[in-house]
């Protein structure tokens, strides 16, 4: 969230609610709708770190609003972010822990664990299929996010199969 806010502010100064709207508009249905409280908390932290500054803008018959803009230090942080390769997703290892440990400790049967997990992945995939159906064809950003989630899920399922083959 920090860096997406910095990136938006690099384009133009904005107040909190405008940032919320911009995120919603850009990422569409596939992105968790950002909570306005969270946005203000993040902006407060960015301000404390000197990455953004706020000016009060007077409004007729309404309380002043704070308009945020990027500082030079904020710009540097943003450039550093853009220049770095991004970490790949980490393997979700909680299930793997369960899979390896549960039978050893007698907590659960491995086949049952794998079967339950496979069904869960497929149910998630069904959700994603339905979400893709409901998403506007023109909303490329949202569709690509959904497709990314599907490809990750497929990899999880393939890995599950490998575990099933190779664990005794």
């Amino acid at each position: 969230m920090r860096l997406s806010l910095l990136a938006l502010l690099a384009k133009e100064p904005a107040h909190g609610y405008e940032l919320k709207q911009a995120l919603e508009q850009i990422f569409g249905r596939a992105y968790p709708s950002p909570n306005i409280g969270q946005i203000y908390v993040t902006l407060g932290r960015l301000e404390k770190d000197g990455l953004v500054k706020a000016v009060d803008v007077e409004q007729s018959n309404r309380p002043n609003k704070k308009v945020y803009y990027l500082t030079a230090k904020g710009r540097e942080a943003l450039d550093a972010w853009a220049d770095e390769p991004t970490e790949g997703p980490r393997v979700r290892d909680e299930f793997f822990m369960k899979l390896v440990l549960a039978p050893m400790t007698g907590v659960a049967d491995r086949t049952a664990l794998i079967n339950r997990q496979r069904r869960h992945y497929l149910a998630l995939m069904r959700d994603l299929n339905e979400l893709a159906e409901r998403t506007d064809r023109g909303d490329r950003v949202a569709l690509l996010l959904i497709e990314g989630a599907m490809l990750h899920l497929q990899a999880d399922l393939d890995w599950l199969e490998r575990c099933q083959e190779d664990l005794p």
Binding site: R92, L122, A123, L124, R126, N129, L145, M150, Q154, Q164
Partner: protein
């Protein structure tokens, strides 16, 4: 009395023995599929998925056990009786699509309908519909060799559906497709399934499997899981907007 299942296997076994050690590919499978069901078969490579669906389509002989289709025992049929049964009742998509090389795409797709007794006009209309749904309308006059692998695979699916079979058997029908073409295939499968088509489909693709009513998992030639794809076991998504949380 309820109608018999479309497919029913009893302790079905296939052991390959060409020369050396016997390879048990399918080891005692009991599988019942009711009319109108869409069943996905999953499992690691070599777990016996292709062997199983080949036997269901009479393309491979069982070693022991029984196969019943639509209430009749079929594992004892002769090859010519199987050929007749396939022509009338079964559509088959091979893992490595078998198109007739010296016929156009259109003729490949129309042939099964004609063989099953459709009029030329019916066969043509069905072909136009199927190729259209799969984004191949403009490839109708091409020869199979002129098509990309993913296109050939979609033609093979169109061909398998041409005679409106009571049973569609498909072995990895999206194995060579990119996301967009997979979406076309999924849409068509969903459509024919809604119209009552019974489908048994082998797949590694979770997107395809998640559309099925039921998923059967094979491991070492045996069924290790068989059940419906249920709802997600957690709070339902309040809004559509939680996809990225999947990985958080």
């Amino acid at each position: 009395m309820s109608p018999p299942p479309i497919v029913n296997t009893v302790n079905l076994v296939r052991i390959y023995q060409d020369g050396g050690v016997p390879v048990p590919a399918v080891r005692g499978v009991d599988l019942k599929v009711e009319a109108g069901e869409f069943v996905a078969i999953m499992g690691p490579s070599g777990s016996g998925k292709s062997t199983l669906v080949h036997m269901l389509g009479g393309l491979d002989a069982r070693t022991s056990g029984e196969i019943w289709l639509d209430g009749s025992r079929v594992d004892t049929l002769s090859e010519s009786a199987w050929a007749l049964l396939r022509r009338r009742k079964i559509g088959f998509v091979f893992q490595f699509f078998n198109l007739v090389a010296n016929m156009t795409v259109a003729d490949n797709v129309e042939l099964p309908a004609l063989l099953a007794g459709a009029s030329p006009r019916e066969a043509r209309e069905r072909r136009e519909y199927l190729l259209g749904e799969l984004g191949l309308a403009d490839r109708a006059d091409a020869a199979p060799a002129q098509l990309a692998g993913g296109e050939q695979q979609r033609v093979a699916l169109a061909r398998a559906l041409a005679n409106r079979p009571s049973l569609l058997l498909a072995d990895e029908p999206t194995g060579n497709l990119d996301s967009r073409n997979t979406r076309d295939v999924l849409r068509l499968l969903g459509e024919v399934h809604r119209d009552g088509q019974t489908i048994i489909l082998v797949t590694h693709d979770a997107r395809v499997a998640s559309l099925a009513d039921r998923v059967v998992s094979l491991l070492d030639g045996q069924i290790v899981d068989d059940g419906a794809v249920g709802p997600v076991r957690r709070r339902p998504r309040a809004s559509a907007g939680d996809v990225v949380e999947l990985r958080s």
